[in-house]
Symmetry: C2
Subunit: 203 residues, 2 copies
DNA sequence: GTCTATAGCGGGATAGAC
DNA sequence: GTCTATCCCGCTATAGAC
């Protein structure tokens, strides 16, 4: 009966990721995870000690993936307008692949805010922000863009990229479209977002 | 011991609203509601039959409040750019007052999407959308704004208004600000959003 | 209308046999 | 490593006394 250790462990992890991301912490039971991974409750606790510990692993993964992508594109040295376009592209690319992640993170942050304080500080978002602020300042100097408060601008970019995915469930109802149709709409929407942001910046 | 009926009922309702909106359905127990309203579990079920029924009442309230406000401003007949500004003002006004509502609605929609299908259809968002599309068409004709796909534009407005509130918990950490400071930032941010949207539209 | 007591279930975790 | 059986807790809902 002895199976490859990492194979079983991996299967539990995969199933747990799917369920936690889809249904959140509270709504996912260890019994659900055991059933879906064709093991049992004891196995889940054998490999991961506790439900909460398993959850932390999943959450860390998801959060890091999102953050790495954002930070790396934001600090590239492309020409300014190309940078903007690349950042938006990059957000959409990752969110099309993992559309449930923002809702997942926002839900769980809401339930347990302390969890993030330290985690975020470790990543040093401050320096990324400063670099972006510098780029904006340079463009203002050159007169290619309007006066642009960096924090407000970044918040707008984030809003325009992330919200359509958060709004997915509600949006597909309002638009009377299937989830698939809505997903296609979102991809198309990206083009308008790029154009929208660049128009808003230009003098 | 017999108290004014509506007084006790109202107290339970107030407490339930606060807890459900703050912590969501799953994380709020009838015991919590009973304790916080200084009654007991039996009383809550006496007045509201079940936890789920009580929740539905709260959810309906919150959702209607949001929707009424949005729809009424969107269909006003102000001059176009004033309309845009008023809509944004109106969103922010209501979200400053009830900042937890978007997260609450999004969480619960995610858990139980069917609940909304019918509810939304009843409100006839279609006619509101058509009216807005007409206004946009007129401005395009006049040459005052760029070519603007109505659905994409509305989604952008929604994103820019709602996301800062959804992002509140995370955002205040990232910005290393208290919730109060972040709230002030948001109010200020509104001005930039108005300017941003109008720039993005203008030719 | 109010409250206590409890039924009855589903949850997380673990002991202990294999 | 694996699995069954079980402990113990917290939850919703309700019966029944007052």
């Amino acid at each position: 009966m002895k199976q490859n250790v990492s194979e079983v462990k991996e299967r539990i992890l995969d199933v747990a990721r799917e369920l936690f991301i889809k249904n959140g912490y509270k709504s996912t039971s260890v019994r659900d995870i055991a059933a879906a991974s064709e093991t049992n409750v004891a196995m889940v606790n054998y490999y991961f000690h506790s439900k909460y510990n398993l959850f932390e692993i999943i959450f860390e993964e998801a959060f890091n993936r999102l953050q790495r992508k954002i930070f790396s594109t934001l600090s590239s040295d492309l020409p300014f307008f190309e940078l903007i376009e690349t950042v938006i592209d990059s957000y959409y690319e990752m969110l099309v692949e993992y559309p449930q992640i923002p809702v997942f993170i926002l839900n769980e942050v809401n339930q347990n805010p302390e969890r993030l304080s330290e985690r975020i500080r470790k990543k040093d978002p401050h320096s990324v922000f400063l670099q972006m602020a510098k780029r904006i300042g340079e463009e203002e100097e050159k007169g290619t863009i309007k006066e642009t408060p960096p924090l407000d601008f970044l918040l707008n970019m984030l809003s325009l990229c992330v919200f359509p995915f958060i709004f997915k469930d509600l949006g597909s109802h309002v638009a009377e479209a299937s989830q698939e149709e809505y997903s296609k709409m979102i991809v198309n929407h990206k083009k308008y977002v790029v154009q929208f942001v660049i128009n808003a910046l230009k003098k």
